[in-house]
């Protein structure tokens, strides 16, 4: 009689939750650790349910563990800088420097050079900024840092618009989203389809050693990618999707849920690339239609009036389906 019906190990929640008492200590997430760095400490002034504050702590704590607590962070202007360091307070518990909106990548290149010439090579450099500071204003400096292959990990926290100045469109704003500069009026309500750019793919076009996308909805994936990035020298780029309750018009409690839906619809594909080639993607667990994601956000409310805007919903769905095919998000 067959007694061993199932040989699989099953840990109740596997690695989907932050921690798991049934896993060995060293198999748990950095964020499960009672002695995690809390690089971005309490008392910061981010809105309730801020995805960026969460993403920044996830990423920098992981980078701290990966480098034995030896990093310098350079910060572009943006929400992250504004809410973390209003004079005279700072929420950062790591060496941290801010200069301008557009020059974070250049400052980071300089810090890396300074460390190199002074022989302090074990200290690593992380630059970080929002999508505005990365995909628009700091884009030239970023591209320069990439093409010189400077030893910097650049992290972009993508909340898809200029949030701290009042939700203006950036080149990372998704199609048809309403912002202060793309109002939901006229023939083409919200952000125009066919505009914007995909910076992870542009980073890959520089053939830098490592490019990855990550999401606050998938902590283990995010920590893995940051840790991997810190194990590599040269220019690296990690692009993290961080929902913004204020700019997206969503409930603060739904921040992680939205990030998860963005991944599960296929709208925000999670993938890794090395030297310009995609090396892997994180599979969708339970595919959902884009409508489930869009409906929870007021910036897409114009798609769901008395009569849903089927045509635009179909175009957004087509974008999601294209991502699923392009990045191999489903088996």
């Amino acid at each position: 009689m067959p007694n061993e019906l199932q040989e699989v190990k099953f840990y109740q929640t596997g690695t989907f939750t932050v921690g798991n008492r049934l896993l060995e200590e060293n198999e748990r997430a950095v964020q499960a650790n009672m002695r995690r760095t809390n690089s971005l400490n309490s008392g910061h002034r981010a809105c309730q349910g801020c995805g960026e504050a969460l993403g920044a702590r996830y990423a920098i704590d992981a980078a701290m563990r990966a480098t034995d607590n030896k990093i310098v962070a350079v910060n572009a202007t943006g929400c992250l800088e504004v809410f973390s360091t209003p004079y005279p307070e700072s929420s950062w518990q790591i060496p941290w420097i801010h200069s301008l909106f557009g020059n974070a990548a250049a400052v980071a290149s300089g810090v890396a050079a300074a460390l190199r010439v002074t022989g302090r090579t074990s200290t690593r450099v992380v630059a970080q900024g929002g999508d505005g500071g990365t995909t628009d204003i700091g884009f030239g400096c970023l591209s320069g840092m990439f093409e010189r292959n400077d030893d910097v990990l650049y992290i972009c926290y993508d909340n898809e618009a200029y949030m701290n100045t009042g939700v203006q469109r950036s080149s990372a704003t998704p199609p048809t989203a309403r912002t202060a500069t793309t109002m939901a009026v006229g023939k083409e309500p919200g952000n125009v389809f066919g505009t914007g750019k995909n910076v992870p793919l542009i980073a890959m076009a520089h053939f830098i050693p490592y490019v990855a996308t990550a999401s606050v909805a998938n902590l283990r994936d995010l920590e893995f990618k940051v840790t991997k990035a810190m194990s590599i020298h040269g220019a690296r780029y990690v692009h993290i999707h961080v929902p913004c309750p204020l700019g997206w018009g969503s409930a603060p409690a739904d921040t992680i849920k939205l990030a998860r839906l963005a991944v599960e619809t296929g709208l925000f594909p999670l993938f890794e690339a090395e030297h310009g080639e995609i090396t892997g993607s994180t599979k969708i667990r339970r595919k959902v239609p884009v409508e489930d994601y869009l409906r929870l956000q007021k910036r897409f409310a114009h798609l769901f009036g008395a009569k849903p805007d089927e045509a635009r919903l179909a175009r957004v769905q087509a974008n999601a389906d294209r991502n699923i095919a392009k990045f191999g998000l489903m088996d």
Partner: protein, 542 residues
């Protein structure tokens, strides 16, 4: 602050900014009542004992389980597990195989010879229990745990009641029953067999008992008037099943007809098959949807070749072994009505399985009792109308299952204990139920239920070997880990991880978490992302 502007700021100095003042509602940790616990007639803390089982700490699990129910190995075989019907995981993939894990723990305890501790102190009180069935033994166990001397008086030759004389061996092997009863004797419960209590007040007085719990069960078969020839072989189900325990097995013949639609009818038909009957036919007056027997038992019986004639009643039985059966039809209200169509069935014997009545003769002359439909009415504290006399199990109005009986025993023991101390027992208020919509099931991995191996059919119908086997340790561990821990923190660290404000303090293994309300902004992400629904938002008071 005498720092020059935009030069440098102290690390982590934002702690001076108490962002907790932004909050309009606050998260609160709570324990909700898991649906399995809520559904358990024996009041087991199922989620509670699955928790240590998940990490392989089976003894702790067993001790937690047996704090409510002394018979896990029996339960794991005969309980109809309403817990699994209520299990939230059933809405996700399949319900957790709670019953099979319970059985694994019970069998593990027998294998490793785990024993119950004797009570830490003796109360000096002496309680009489009448009847050594599941209810009486459960009461005896719980009373003993509470420090009372307990004597169980049983009319039959062996303890177990319907667990021995009603449930066939292929469902409950007797060595399992004996092992779990022996544990009670080892902790000081005194059993006296072969003595029928005929007058309860006299027995209490002579034995100088301080209280009594009656659980004599329902052993008298209900009869239906069926005209029959003198040589017709008609028996009742209780006698057949009881007879299986003795030396002289009942003679059923090759063609056996069982009349009734409860689990007992199925037990008899399946027993007949094992006794060598070529045909075992159940005649039932309604249809399968209306049948009181449990679906899985019907399924197992059909697999074993038991035939069921639905919508039929038996009109008479002639000498030569011919039954006349009338076809029935359900009316609008679902009641069977005769159609006037008849057919005949060949039968060597007819077994009536139409339910059982209680022998209430021991209560003759007890004042203040209320009897209803052949059972004794008891109050919410399980006490009869006569002070100090409590009753439970099949002799009080209730669903007649082993698990309900065990639950009665526990409940009665708590009230008897309070009554003996001149107090009343007030059960703690129940937590709100952890409904499915309180969970965030995203975090649980998909995992099918581990089905217990079944004895192959040929052996099942010819022997009394146990039909359903237990789980191996690997499978039991797997099954326990399928528990969603509904409504009760299982320390997954999600709240600690997902807080954008580091406002959740992790207190360490086994100590759970607390909120740092100096910084909690009340965003509610922790509530949304808690897998098991152990946090809720409450409005902030001004």
């Amino acid at each position: 602050m005498n720092k020059p502007y935009a030069i440098s700021l102290y690390p982590g100095s934002s702690l001076a900014n108490k962002t907790g003042s932004w909050r309009t509602s606050r998260p609160m940790y709570l324990d909700r009542l898991p649906p399995c616990n809520h559904a358990c007639p024996a009041g087991e803390n199922i989620q509670g004992w699955l928790y240590p089982a998940e990490s392989g700490d089976y003894e702790t699990a067993w001790r937690l389980l047996t704090a409510d129910n002394p018979f896990p190995a029996i339960m794991g075989r005969v309980c109809y597990h309403p817990c699994e019907g209520a299990c939230n995981r059933g809405k996700l993939d399949e319900s957790v195989g709670i019953n099979s894990v319970e059985r694994f723990l019970g069998d593990e305890a027998i294998r490793r010879d785990w024993k119950f501790a004797r009570p830490a102190f003796e109360s000096g009180k002496h309680v009489l229990v009448v009847g050594a069935g599941p209810s009486g033994l459960s009461a005896a166990y719980h009373l003993r745990r509470l420090g009372h001397r307990v004597k169980v008086i049983e009319a039959g030759p062996l303890p177990g009641g319907m667990m021995r004389f009603g449930i066939p061996k292929y469902r409950l092997p007797r060595d399992i029953l004996d092992a779990e009863v022996k544990r009670l004797v080892d902790m000081g419960v005194v059993l006296e067999m072969n003595r029928k209590v005929s007058n309860i007040l006299e027995t209490v007085q002579v034995g100088q008992f301080d209280a009594a719990f009656l659980a004599v069960g329902a052993h008298i078969a209900k009869r239906a008037y069926i005209p029959a020839g003198e040589a017709a072989h008609m028996l009742d189900a209780v006698a057949v099943l009881r007879g299986m325990e003795g030396q002289d097995k009942p003679m059923l013949g090759r063609r056996v007809v069982v009349y009734g639609g409860g689990n007992t009818a199925l037990d008899v038909a399946r027993t007949a098959k094992r006794m060598g009957a070529s045909e075992a036919i159940i005649v039932y007056r309604r249809n399968r949807e209306k049948m009181p027997a449990h679906d899985f038992e019907v399924e197992e019986a059909l697999q074993e070749g038991v035939l069921i004639k639905w919508l039929s009643t038996i009109k008479n039985m002639a000498d030569e072994g011919t039954l006349t059966v009338e076809k029935m039809q359900l009316d609008d209200k679902g009641f069977p009505q005769p159609t006037g169509e008849f057919e005949t069935l060949e039968a060597d014997s007819l077994v009536l399985a139409l339910g059982q009545d209680v022998d209430l003769s021991l209560l003759d002359g007890v004042p203040g009792l209320t009897l209803k439909d052949g059972t004794v009415e008891v109050g919410p504290n399980m006490m009869t109308g006569y002070a100090g006399i409590f009753a439970g199990g099949d002799m009080v109005p209730s669903e007649r299952t082993v698990t309900v009986a065990v639950g009665h025993g526990k409940k009665a023991a708590r009230h008897i204990d309070a009554w003996l101390r001149g107090k009343s027992y007030d059960p703690p208020p129940k937590h709100e139920i952890a409904e499915f919509d309180k969970l965030n099931t995203w975090y649980y991995a998909d995992a099918p239920k581990t089905v217990r191996p079944m004895l192959e059919l040929a052996r099942r119908t010819s022997t009394f070997d146990e039909v359903v086997s237990g789980l191996t340790e690997t499978n039991a561990l797997f099954e326990a880990r399928r528990c969603l821990s509904c409504g009760n923190c299982f320390e997954c660290d999600n709240c600690y991880g997902v807080c954008p404000d580091n406002a959740v303090i992790k207190l360490g293994p086994g100590k759970r978490f607390e909120f740092n309300f100096d910084y909690c902004k009340g965003c509610g992400i922790c509530v949304s992302e808690c897998p098991c629904g152990a946090i809720k938002m409450v409005p902030e008071t001004i």
